[in-house]
């Protein structure tokens, strides 16, 4: 925060002129990008539909009430499948993520090349949405719960491994050093010095991802990978709006319950 000499004596300004100019240019640049983006999007939009949207929304909303509660009996199995996709997918993810995380953390990686590969696995898995993973796997394995489970697993590897390896890098190094000083081997140092320190992180990350996966697995059915999403897309395609609202209600409840469970378990761990 400089004092600037002017003819009236020193003046306090928050920033130097150069800095102000840079910030102004930044804003200008941002506005240009947003404006340009907006133009491109609006070119591809049929504004008649947008104007009509409120009426449409009202129309659909009225057709959605009341939810068709009797439909629930056909939803138990998809809900169960959804739950399994999320849970088994998380188990698969953790099984892969733990070795990847140890390979990716600077203080445990056996070699910089191994670290680079591990980091690439993490980025690739994180960048590709679970729906895309599901798309690929449905094509290869055929539609069904298996494709969904593996899709969730592959998508979660990156997320879990990233949080895990950050946890591994943040450990208290002196505890490991103390174990090293006893003459323990590298594997033993890991077992006694590192694993106990990161175990709570591992459990926390697993539960956290499970909660996210419940949400994600509700939509995999849209591409045929099992779970409640199949019913959802079927009901939308047949314009069965009371069924749609029932499914949304079920998804809402599932998500709330899983969030509650996850918060409880994490509270107990930490």
């Amino acid at each position: 925060m400089p004092l600037i000499e002017t003819s009236d004596g020193p003046m306090w300004k928050r920033r130097t002129p150069q800095k102000r100019l840079a910030i102004f240019m930044g804003w200008l640049f941002g506005f240009v990008i947003v404006f340009y983006a907006w133009r491109l999007i609006s070119e591809k939009t049929i504004w008649f539909f947008v104007q009509d949207a409120p009426k449409q929304a009202f129309d659909i909303a009225t057709r959605m009430v009341p939810p068709k509660f009797s439909y629930m009996e056909r939803l138990w199995v998809p809900v169960w499948d959804t739950l399994n996709i999320a849970t088994l997918g998380t188990v698969i993810a953790l099984a892969i993520a733990i070795p990847v995380a140890f390979a990716a953390a600077r203080n445990t990686t056996p070699h910089p090349i191994v670290r680079a590969i591990a980091i690439f696995i993490i980025v690739a898995s994180r960048s590709v949405n679970s729906l895309i993973w599901a798309l690929i796997l449905v094509l290869i394995l055929g539609p069904g719960v298996l494709a969904g489970t593996i899709a969730i697993g592959l998508r979660s590897v990156g997320f879990c491994a990233k949080l895990l390896y950050e946890g591994i890098e943040e450990i208290d190094h002196s505890q490991v050093e103390a174990i090293e000083a006893t003459g323990a081997s590298r594997m033993q140092q890991m077992l006694y010095g590192i694993v106990p320190q990161v175990l709570p992180t591992f459990a926390g990350v697993g539960v956290f991802r499970w909660d996210i996966n419940i949400r994600e697995s509700t939509i995999l059915g849209l591409v045929g990978a099992g779970g409640i999403g199949i019913e959802l897309s079927g009901s939308i395609n047949t314009l069965a709006w009371t069924q749609v609202s029932m499914i949304l209600l079920v998804i809402l409840l599932t998500v709330i319950v899983s969030e509650w469970v996850s918060a409880k378990v994490r509270g107990a761990i930490i």
Partner: protein, 269 residues
């Protein structure tokens, strides 16, 4: 000394993590039973899965090398549409999030505003962006506008919630000190709240841009514009090399975004 030496026990067992044996075994057995039932009820067509293996090989081989040629010019169009969609949805979503986030902070807003804003946040958080996109497509027709709306709503759920939590956790003493000077409400927000939450919010905006880009790659599957539709078509036609190229481009862009966000966060702090 050697007499007493023998009086010490020579076995030791690590006390279990959960000391109550009923609870411990209950959890272990319960989880085992769940796994058994879950795997048992999983309906898998193994024959179909087996037949898919050559296709999987072809897919993996398509990465070496991927086909970036993009003869019909659809890939770049789709990618750019996704990028623009992500940017503008992030900007709009954050613009809407600021008032909602302020309203959803219990230490700022009156009770009724608080509940109103909290319910907006909860509502937009519950459903995945893709479900929002399905409805947006129904309302606004096919195209990027629907994706834009869906992603904006998703952004509100994410951003407003974190903003509100950040404001609730900030230091009350600084806020009080500014209030004590007789500042107006807007001045108070500007001087007491903004400096405290700003750095984290900038970091989070880039993070959200990253999420929005990844999501914008899939809203196309349900008709919401962007690269998703192209990708879906590529898979439908078994054009694995194009699909591989698209996936690599997505990964590349996400990596760049992640790098920028890391850099920006360091710069802000």
């Amino acid at each position: 000394m050697s007499e007493t030496l023998n009086t010490f026990p020579d076995t030791w067992k690590k006390p279990p993590l959960i000391r109550n044996p009923t609870l411990r075994w209950g959890l272990i057995v319960g989880f085992a039973i769940y796994l058994a039932i879950a795997l048992g009820t999983m309906d898998v067509n193994w024959q179909r899965a087996w037949e898919g293996i050559p296709r999987g090989q072809r897919f993996i081989l398509a990465f070496f090398p991927p086909d970036f040629s993009d003869s019909r010019n659809v890939v770049w169009d789709g990618i750019l549409e996704s990028v623009w969609m992500a940017i503008i949805a992030t900007v709009a979503g954050i613009a809407l999030s600021v008032p909602i986030g302020l309203g959803a902070a219990s230490n700022l807003a009156p009770k009724w505003v608080y509940f109103f804003c909290r319910s907006i946040v909860a509502g937009s958080r519950t459903f995945p962006e893709i479900i929002l996109a399905i409805f947006a497509v129904k309302l606004f027709g096919f195209g990027p506008f629907a994706g834009f709306v869906a992603l904006s709503i998703g952004t509100i759920g994410f951003f407003a919630k974190l903003l509100a939590e950040d404001i609730e956790n900030m230091s009350a003493s600084q806020a009080e000190a500014i209030k004590a000077t007789g500042a107006s409400w807007f001045q108070w927000i500007n001087y007491a709240i903004q400096p405290q939450v700003m750095p984290r919010m900038i970091g989070l905006s880039v993070y959200r841009l990253d999420i929005n880009f990844r999501e914008s790659a899939v809203v196309g599957i349900v008709g919401g514009g962007g690269i998703g539709a192209t990708l879906n078509t590529a898979f439908d036609r078994y054009e694995f090399d194009t699909a591989a190229a698209i996936l690599l481009i997505i990964i590349g862009i996400v990596m760049v975004l992640e790098y920028i966000s890391g850099y920006l966060r360091k710069w802000v702090q």
